[in-house]
């Protein structure tokens, strides 16, 4: 929002606006939008227009919910309308005459709570459900969230496009079940006589205006919820999963929990919206929740900007306005034109029926020409000044290290003890009975030809690859069978050989995701923004900037740049910064200097050395033997998954077995 105002306007207006602080401008914008939204029914007395606006708000709420699942967590859900249906039927059944079980004393407590009424019929007394709309809003949300978890759970292992298909399947199943269980839903005929909400004795009835205001309140609430979640530990975790699941897990994010949380919250939005929608229509049929509805909401967020909070609201409102006002008016104009010039065809054009065609065109064109949508989620950043760009290669390692690394339990001895570790991929033995001991505050280098199992060793230690047998002990714990996020939490952080940053997040966000396991704010805290949560967030930001500043002016001026825009060496540095942010006891570096020039290599080697002097234990994979000789206390050599040598760099360098592994059989005898 801020940048949308700041970057789009002509220079003169922008400079005038610049006098007003950005925060004030954003608040002013929100205030104006809110005022316009509140005044709309007073200015436009047309009930049909207000009715369309209320429907548009319902779809804006759906778009916000789907945006959490698709835009933030990156889980393409093609059956989102199912949750809309569940929320709608929940309220529909709880406030209509559809279910009328016989009266018994069981219902008396519910009668006191005014949830049901006793109703006299010829065949005996029956129960009439009359649960309040205001109670059902959160209850429907909770029911939908439950189904979100239920439908989400089986899809967790699937990658993107399969997830889409499974959700599509659930999206089909729910309306079919609704149609085939007429005792609860009245089947294809639809529920009838759903009660209208009442507020302090005022019955909403069929007038659109009160629903419009409830819609405004709901959308406002969901916008605030979404914004707060997005700018928190929770939102960062979702986006990390979206960008790179493996790296997210390795940085301490529990994928299962956060994916389910996204499904649940997205579904909850749809559940509450379904309740509002059905209260407004006072009926519910299975046809209202079929695949086209899911696609329509998807079109809205694609159009507005996947992942962008204001974008998806604007996208939903624009498309609804297009559908209910503009196409109708345009058709009328064409009819008039047809009568004027006497062309029969023009008099029968009904553009509103082509809305789905327009949706299809929008999907294709947005994907081909503007994937970021009308209002992109990522802000554009100003170019760096020459000063900021000019980085000097510095020697001597990090100056002024903040508190990195956590206290180690075992003051002496081995911090990491790998024993008898064997990993097989089908018939291939990637690691065979590997033994490795990393002493506290030591620097151990693992070397070996490509394919010798070095990265597999790292992947197994960090929980990404399961081991067939063996043990990994770390600081008094057995960590072999832990999930990657639990391994990080214990204090092992890593970098990847092929760099796995979160490309569409900023450098600062990348580093803050590294701190995920050390922060405590949960979804409720993120939502309420209690003082403790604010303090934690501010401190986290502070600490992340401190870590970025370690690398001089290489990363700090680029803190708000996307990781994807960084140079290769800076991406390596960001990855190390991200790992340091997790306050590790043990740092695993997988070829940290790969692709760096000699000066940069030395700079980084110095920095690694200073980390070690500061108390951090380091295990690194490195091909550059001069770096290994400079850093490592001990070198472990792997070949074909077996440890063939171990010792000081000097000793290993002269080992015949090692020479043969690296240079071939004949070289060893030269």
């Amino acid at each position: 929002m801020r940048s949308a105002i700041g970057t789009r306007l002509p220079a003169r207006t922008a400079s005038v606006l610049a006098v007003v602080p950005a925060r004030t401008r954003a608040r002013l914008g929100v205030l104006l939008v809110t005022a316009a939204a509140l005044l709309f029914p007073l200015l436009n007395g047309n009930d049909a227009d207000i009715d369309s606006a209320a429907n548009a708000l319902a779809f804006a709420a759906l778009a916000l919910g789907l945006n959490i699942v698709v835009g933030f967590a990156g889980l393409l859900d093609l059956g989102y309308a199912a949750f809309f249906a569940i929320g709608a039927y929940a309220y529909g059944v709880a406030s209509s005459w559809q279910l009328q079980p016989a009266w018994s004393s069981f219902w008396e407590p519910f009668q006191w709570l005014d949830l049901v009424a006793r109703f006299h019929t010829a065949g005996g007394d029956v129960v009439h459900f009359q649960v309040s709309f205001w109670l059902m809003l959160p209850v429907s949300a909770a029911i939908a969230a439950f189904f979100g978890v239920l439908f989400g759970a089986p899809t967790l292992r699937l990658k993107g496009d399969y997830l889409a298909i499974v959700t599509l399947g659930f999206g089909e199943i729910v309306p079919i079940v609704a149609r085939n269980t007429p005792s609860v839903t009245n089947g294809a005929m639809g529920l009838n006589g759903v009660a209208a909400p009442r507020l302090f004795g005022y019955d909403f009835g069929v007038d659109a205006t009160p629903y419009y205001y409830v819609g405004i309140a709901l959308v406002a609430l969901l916008i605030v919820t979404t914004q707060r979640l997005k700018d928190s530990r929770i939102g960062r975790a979702w986006m990390a999963i979206r960008e790179d699941e493996i790296a997210a897990a390795a940085m301490g994010i529990n994928r299962v929990r956060f994916k389910l949380l996204a499904f649940a919250i997205g579904a909850a939005f749809a559940g509450a919206t379904g309740t509002l929608y059905v209260a407004k229509l006072q009926t519910a049929t299975p046809e209202m929740f079929m695949f086209p509805v899911s696609v329509m909401v998807l079109v809205m967020i694609v159009f507005g900007g996947i992942g962008s909070v204001w974008g998806v609201v604007v996208g939903a409102l624009l498309l609804q306005i297009l559908q209910s006002w503009f196409l109708e008016d345009l058709s009328q104009w064409l009819h008039a034109l047809g009568r004027l010039v006497n062309i029969d065809g023009l008099q029968h054009v009904e553009l509103a029926s082509s809305i789905e065609l327009i949706f299809g065109v929008i999907l294709v064109f947005m994907m081909l020409y503007r994937r970021e949508g009308l209002i992109p989620a990522t802000r554009r950043v100003a170019a760096l000044s020459l000063d900021e760009q000019a980085a000097q290669v510095g020697r001597g390692g990090f100056k002024g290290l903040p508190s990195i690394g956590a206290a180690v339990n075992s003051a002496s001895g081995a911090l990491l003890q790998v024993s008898d570790l064997t990993v097989r991929f089908g018939g291939l033995v990637a690691l065979r009975s590997v033994e490795l001991s990393v002493p506290v505050r030591g620097v151990i280098a693992v070397i070996g030809p490509n394919g010798s199992g070095k990265s597999t060793l790292f992947n197994t230690i960090t929980g990404l690859v399961p081991a067939d047998s063996g043990d990994v002990g770390f600081d008094g714990d057995d960590t072999l069978r832990l999930r990657p996020d639990a391994v990080l939490e214990r204090g092992i952080a890593r970098t990847f050989q092929n760099i796995r940053l979160f490309p569409n997040l900023t450098v600062l966000e990348n580093v803050m995701i590294g701190m995920h396991a050390r922060l405590e704010t949960g979804p409720v805290g993120a939502l309420l923004r209690l003082p403790a949560n604010r303090r934690e967030e501010a401190a986290a930001r502070e600490h992340a900037l401190e870590i970025l500043s370690l690398f001089g002016n290489r990363l700090l001026p680029r803190a708000d740049h996307l990781a994807a825009s960084l140079s290769y060496a800076n991406r390596r540095r960001t990855e190390i910064a991200r790992a340091l942010a997790s306050q590790p006891k043990l740092l695993l570096l997988d070829e940290p200097t790969a692709g760096m020039n000699p000066a940069e290599t030395l700079e980084l080697a110095d920095q690694i050395q200073s980390l070690n002097r500061h108390g951090l234990t380091i295990l690194l994979i490195e091909h550059k033997l001069d770096v290994v000789a400079m850093l490592a206390d001990k070198v472990v050599v792997l070949d074909h998954g077996e440890k063939i040598a171990e010792g000081s760099p000097e000793v290993v360098r002269r080992d015949e077995e090692v020479i043969r592994a690296y240079l071939g059989r004949s070289a060893a005898f030269v």
């Binding site: 993107g160 499974v166 399947g169 659930f170 079940v177 695949f291 789905e356 299809g360 994907m367």
Partner: protein, 309 residues
């Protein structure tokens, strides 16, 4: 008719539907094998082709099921209709690839899949807005010939469907395993980058996959029309989802898998409808889809697990 006879008859019906689903599933599998893309446009390439087939038959002066042809006239008519439908479908598939998917090559994430949903929507609505929402009576020159085997009735149209499906699948098998382009296709499916370095024109392979897959959908579409004697703008969605389930069940990316999966889904549809209830058929099929994806993501014949990220 005894229960046993009814079930046996449903097996015959299931095999006919299954042959159609198998042809349609092959299109999903060919494209997925190479691009790892679920092509939603395939649903409605099938639907549009059924109209092309209808128009081709009408071009020959046929309408409804009244005019019955025999002998050479029948063979010629069917050959013409299959050729026109399959070529038109193939061209449509290639056009979709060139216009909407090639520009997205190398874009990570779900952009390409969302595009195919958009294309599918466009095809769907173009037919809806031009032809209309009603069902079209499908011209069918096949004479009604029935053979009675005990309690089971076999119709000529069923033999035709099985024959066409068999010929096309054998031809596809031959193409993929015995020709140069087929070898390029298999190489690209294994590793597109490596295939490119070995001189395989990957774009040509992709176009071929789209052409073949769509042409098979065209054949399936004509079979649909001749089997059910109608077509409509909505047929793509249900048939497409069932065929996709067939591809997943067989192991997506696997050609024999798509064939076997198609037959299984056909049988599940008719027997499930018989034994449980027709109105739950879709729930059964989608449940299979979900269960297979969750528990056996490689399907029956699959090679690559779809869990890799």
């Amino acid at each position: 008719m005894s229960d046993y006879g009814v079930l046996l008859q449903q097996v015959v019906n299931g095999l006919s539907l299954g042959a159609m689903y198998a042809l349609l599933a092959l299109g999903f599998t060919l494209v997925y094998g190479i691009l790892e893309l679920i092509n939603f446009a395939h649903f409605n390439v099938f639907m549009v082709s059924s109209f092309v087939g209808m128009w081709a038959l009408e071009l020959l002066g046929l309408s409804g099921q009244g005019q019955v042809l025999t002998g050479l006239a029948l063979a010629g008519t069917l050959l013409f209709a299959f050729a026109v439908t399959m070529i038109a479908a193939g061209v449509l598939g290639v056009a979709i690839e060139r216009l909407s998917l090639r520009p997205l090559r190398g874009v990570r994430g779900t952009a390409a899949m969302i595009t195919t949903i958009g294309v599918s929507y466009i095809l769907f609505n173009v037919i809806l807005l031009t032809v209309g929402a009603g069902s079209e009576n499908y011209p069918n020159p096949l004479p009604v010939v029935r053979w009675q085997f005990g309690e089971v009735t076999l119709e000529l149209k069923e033999l035709l469907i099985w024959g066409v499906a068999l010929v096309l699948m054998v031809a596809l098998h031959f193409f993929v395993n015995r020709t140069r382009l087929g070898k390029a296709m298999r190489a690209t499916a294994q590793d597109a980058e490596a295939a490119r370095m070995m001189g395989v024109d990957v774009d040509r392979v992709i176009v071929t996959a789209f052409f073949l897959g769509s042409a098979l959908a065209g054949a399936a579409a004509l079979i649909f029309g001749l089997y059910y004697n109608y077509t409509s703008f909505i047929i793509g969605y249900t048939a497409g989802l069932r065929a996709f389930t067939a591809a997943v069940l067989g192991g997506i990316g696997s050609i024999p898998g798509a064939m076997v999966g198609g037959l299984l889904i056909g049988l599940i549809e008719t027997l499930g409808g018989q034994l449980i209830a027709v109105r739950w058929t879709d729930v059964i099929i989608f449940s299979i889809l979900v269960l297979v994806l969750v528990f056996v993501p490689t399907g029956l014949f699959g090679r690559a697990a779809p869990t890799k990220s």
